[in-house]
Symmetry: C2
Subunit: 334 residues, 2 copies
């Protein structure tokens, strides 16, 4: 096809999709959501709590929305993306560390032998984390994550991992912020790992990223202040850790929580049960093997969803059916 | 004196001091600061980093200012105020706990015997903290702090502790925020203790309070989600802990740090040394025994100031001489 035969206005419209939308879509804050029940309850909740003078009104300072990351804002298949980062790092560093070839943890990791890595209190996995996430300054770690973002590609979607993010959720984040909500990431993933790109990708600044983390060590080195990452007193921001992480970092109870797995159940309970304000819980159910992945009870990666799905029904949490509810999954490639 | 003999306009002016200022003062964002060098360097720094197009310009997202609390935003004499809260709590709870009368930690605490409390790795002090700061839900603790704020009075200034705050520093907080700065508390004091009143008193919301804290425990109790305060893995946000607390909570290097003791030295180093942005360090030197307190090297309470004062001279940190630099110390009584 000769590009010249296409009117320029159509090319321009294609190129600017996602930034300039047709007039009709401009009035829809969630254009990548189909007009199904999920979208309607989201909009109804936001309108309810932001309507001044109504009994359900929530002041701006209390409009806290928390989002799980893996499986809620971006995929967690074929492996959680932070594991892809660790793998990238091991491969990159291996030539300088021939002694690693005799390391059983490295061998298991290269083979993808999760059982071996998790044996003996996850000794092997902790060794991999220690090699890729500790022993360097926070600035050095940030640079490593930036390099991975720039260089690595998702094996199936063939784009940078930070472009494998859910377009409907990006719209939801922006929609909530436009209505005075603070949006926070509350993830089992590494806090330092996510902070490097969360502002650019989600519009969520580093101080609003809650995640797993080890302690840091401050020291002056060559006359310069440094913070070195360690694996001392690791806090795991998952399951019952999520409400703890929320309270430690935010200090207020959220009124909206978004997750996709049993690991998010405590966070959604904390948000929606006995909350003095109106509240909202949502679970993204991965039902779309064609455009993304389909999994819940049986999963080889993270994201097991059984008890939270049962509780969702009981408590009236919204369950998003990815296949039915989402018009598109990923944003157009940059 | 007969109030009726005073023109109403003068009474009104007195009543509204602090809210409606004379026309001349309205143009001065720091009216409680004398026109000495300290005020001039503060204003010069803020003007420099907020002037668009200048080489020293710092974008809004990077304008992070961190403030120590005890001795920087409010006094730490005759004892740190959180210790006054603990004392208030012990006295309140004692009638229901006759067994405490045989507790050596309680006995030492009632006598003010700090040496005994700090003996054996501060075993006694930890016992007091355990009795007053742990074993209850975060909501119960918040209520206890609120009650203390409402009921207790500073022994010398005879007003609620939360009204014993430095008026010049309140103006500085507001001045920085008016210039796009995020203002954060970074204190050795308890995070949960400060969060209860920090928004009301300093205009600093709970999510911007960094402080010492123990771990929390999430559980459903009687069908309601609860977070219980524990003394597990206590993080001490003091000295080298301050840069760690900053990175864990904020994730960006501040460009301005305000403290008053050697406990703030690492925080000011982290802020001002090798920072890619222009940066500012300030130490409040307590030189005013008449209006507040005078102390530095020799202090029986907290707030020892020796090495940070020496480094201030060397590195050009601003040292506030409270007596000379501050026109007033506390706000008018409410």
């Amino acid at each position: 096809m000769n590009l010249r035969s296409i009117p320029f206005s159509i090319i321009a419209a294609c190129l600017t999709v996602g930034t300039v939308l047709p007039a009709a879509a401009q009035t829809d804050p969630l254009p990548s959501w189909n007009d199904t029940a999920s979208k309607k309850v989201i909009v109804a909740f936001v309108e309810k709590v932001t309507k001044e003078g109504s009994a359900d009104f929530v002041p701006v300072s209390e409009r806290i929305a928390v989002f799980d990351n893996d499986g809620t804002l971006w995929p967690e298949n074929p492996v959680p993306f932070q594991l892809a980062f660790a793998s990238y790092e091991i491969t990159r560093l291996l030539p300088d560390h021939p002694e690693w070839n005799d390391d059983p943890a490295i061998q298991a990791f290269k083979k993808g032998d999760l059982a071996a890595l998790l044996a003996d209190h996850a000794k092997g996995l902790l060794r991999i984390v220690a090699l890729t996430h500790a022993g360097m300054t926070t600035e050095e770690f940030d640079q490593r994550v930036k390099d991975w973002v720039a260089e690595d590609r998702h094996p199936r979607f063939e784009r940078p991992y930070t472009q494998c993010i859910y377009q409907p959720m990006l719209e939801l984040l922006a929609y909530l912020r436009a209505h005075g909500f603070q949006t926070w990431v509350v993830s089992g993933g590494g806090k330092d790992f996510m902070r490097v790109w969360s502002e650019d990708v989600y519009g969520i600044p580093p101080e609003r990223v809650v995640g797993s983390h080890g302690q840091l060590k401050f020291a002056m080195k060559d006359g310069k202040p440094t913070l070195t990452k360690t694996l001392d007193t690791v806090f795991v921001d998952d399951k019952e850790g999520k409400p703890v992480g929320i309270q430690q970092s935010i200090g207020r109870r959220p009124i909206a929580a978004f997750g996709n797995s049993d690991g998010d159940q405590a966070m959604i309970e904390y948000t929606t049960i006995d909350n003095p304000h109106p509240s909202f819980g949502l679970i993204v159910h991965h039902t779309d093997s064609e455009r993304e992945y389909a999994y819940d009870a049986e999963t080889k990666s993270s994201g097991k969803l059984v008890t939270a799905l049962a509780e969702a029904k009981e408590r009236g949490w919204t369950v998003v059916d990815m296949k039915a509810d989402w018009k598109s999954v990923f944003p157009p490639e940059r």
